[in-house]
């Protein structure tokens, strides 16, 4: 009797509506979070590339944007917030700044699904430019209020430029990953 029950359970899993539900595949659901965390950690390594010396690209921002757009169920508010918090901890900046910015980016990107899903990559790239600029603007404003000082915005703009330039390199594998996760690939 037992084997039969197991069989019926697994067939139910197979019938699932495209989303992995049970057992081992639940690990697959953590992949976007883990990949994003690795990207956040990479963003704080002392890489020492001459031209990237002053600012490192915001890899975490790319991850939050791409996953919020492709799989908002796997990049919920709390995950974006948590990734921002880790970024703040690593950078030593105001605790909560990046957390709020990532939360905003997650909400913004997830709300643009209808507009952006299925469009050419270039359009997605352009949309990311807007998102990155908005994120930099908001974090610059928060930083100015936090430090009660006029913070030089050049570094923030430089970071936007570097991040936007590297966007295709980082986003392409993330897109591939989220495409595989949509549908049957992981289920």
């Amino acid at each position: 009797m037992r084997p039969r029950r197991r069989k019926s359970a697994s067939s139910r899993l197979g019938d699932g509506p495209g989303l992995p539900q049970l057992g081992f595949w639940r690990l697959g659901l953590a992949i976007p979070g883990l990949v994003s965390l690795v990207l956040v950690l990479l963003g704080s390594l002392p890489i020492g590339v001459p031209f990237l010396g002053p600012v490192l690209p915001a890899f975490g921002l790319i991850a939050v944007h791409v996953f919020a757009l492709q799989r908002p169920d796997l990049m919920p508010h709390w995950l974006a917030f948590g990734l921002g918090l880790v970024t703040d901890l690593l950078s030593g900046g105001p605790l909560g700044l990046t957390a709020l910015v990532f939360l905003g980016v997650q909400a913004l990107s997830a709300s643009q699904r209808r507009v952006l899903i299925g469009r050419p990559f270039v359009l997605g790239w352009a949309a990311f430019v807007a998102v990155a600029l908005a994120a930099a603007g908001v974090s610059w404003l928060i930083a100015c209020v936090y430090f009660l000082d006029f913070v030089n915005p050049v570094a923030a703009l430089l970071q936007v430029a570097v991040t936007v330039t590297l966007f295709p390199l980082v986003a392409a594998p993330l897109l591939l990953l989220s495409h595989r996760m949509t549908g049957q690939a992981f289920a």
Partner: protein, 287 residues
């Protein structure tokens, strides 16, 4: 991406899910703002929590930064290999010049020791080093900090000076058990009492997140030119005096900027100075 998003959409659109989603968003927004306010005003245990979490993250960074450091070393080696002849020639000349200086320094050291004995001068406080690996940097546009794979366990404490073989890097602002954070001299919040090495005029080295920190509060009559060396003055007692910091890079009517000796973007190992601050009480080192 175009394949079956239906179940997802229906799940997201369910009234309960939507309500929960909105509540979570509002809650996290409030939490973020609270953290910012608490962190700014020092209310609550934000600092302690922060240092604790840093301790947890540092070992992870320590591991993943090792291959990065190896690649960096390789890149530097290749870069150096291409200039090895030119470099060799330059070093030969420099060596000849330095040998001359060494003789001069030895003579001066001998004289100095003699005068110190004669005058019964109090010896400078002992400075010892803790060498540690840099495992992370802020990377963000608003702060300039580094993470160090050494903490209180190794004797690192807040306010200690951090130097590389070329000069001052910054000072420790946070120290966990096995990790610490260095505030670089270029950070917006960094203020270091310094002086011009030649004229002994004092100033405050004030970071503004750019690569060229400002020399603020320099006396108006002080004569300063690009190329003047700047060292720590030791005022305030936090840093030992005489640590080299950099050279004056530019002098304009209302601001003097400094070029640090240390390439702050390419640090792999640094020394944390354990400096016993001079104090009026409990002074056992008197003459």
């Amino acid at each position: 991406m175009r394949r079956s998003n239906k179940p997802l959409a229906s799940r997201m659109a369910s009234p309960m899910g939507l309500l929960f989603n909105r509540f979570a968003f509002a809650f996290l927004l409030a939490l973020g703002l609270t953290l910012l306010v608490a962190g700014r005003s020092g209310i609550g245990p934000v600092e302690q929590v922060r240092t604790g979490l840093l301790d947890l993250l540092a070992p992870v960074l320590d591991v993943i930064s090792r291959p990065v450091a190896a690649v960096n070393d390789l890149a530097t080696e290749i870069e150096q290999l291409s200039r090895v002849y030119e470099e060799n020639d330059r070093l030969r000349q420099e060596n000849a010049r330095l040998l001359h200086w060494q003789a001069a320094a030895r003579a001066l050291e001998r004289d100095n020791a003699q005068y110190r004995r004669l005058l019964n001068v109090r010896a400078r406080s002992d400075v010892t080093y803790i060498t540690a690996r840099v495992v992370g940097e802020s990377g963000g546009p608003f702060v300039k900090t580094l993470l160090l794979a050494a903490g209180e366990r190794d004797g690192v404490e807040p306010d200690q000076a951090v130097v590389s073989e070329l000069g001052l890097v910054g000072r420790i602002t946070e120290a966990g058990r096995n990790a610490a954070r260095i505030l670089l001299i270029t950070d917006l919040n960094s203020r270091i009492p310094v002086m011009l090495e030649g004229s002994r005029r004092r100033a405050i080295l004030s970071g503004d997140n750019s690569g060229r920190p400002l020399l603020a509060f320099l006396e108006a009559e002080a004569e300063v030119q690009p190329g003047d060396r700047v060292v720590t003055s030791g005022h305030g007692g936090m840093l030992p005096p005489g640590l080299v910091v950099g050279v004056v890079a530019s002098v304009t009517e209302n601001q003097v900027r400094l070029r640090p000796f240390v390439d702050l973007a390419r640090l792999e190992r640094v020394n944390v100075l354990r400096y016993r601050r001079p104090s009026l009480v409990n002074d056992r080192n008197g003459p």
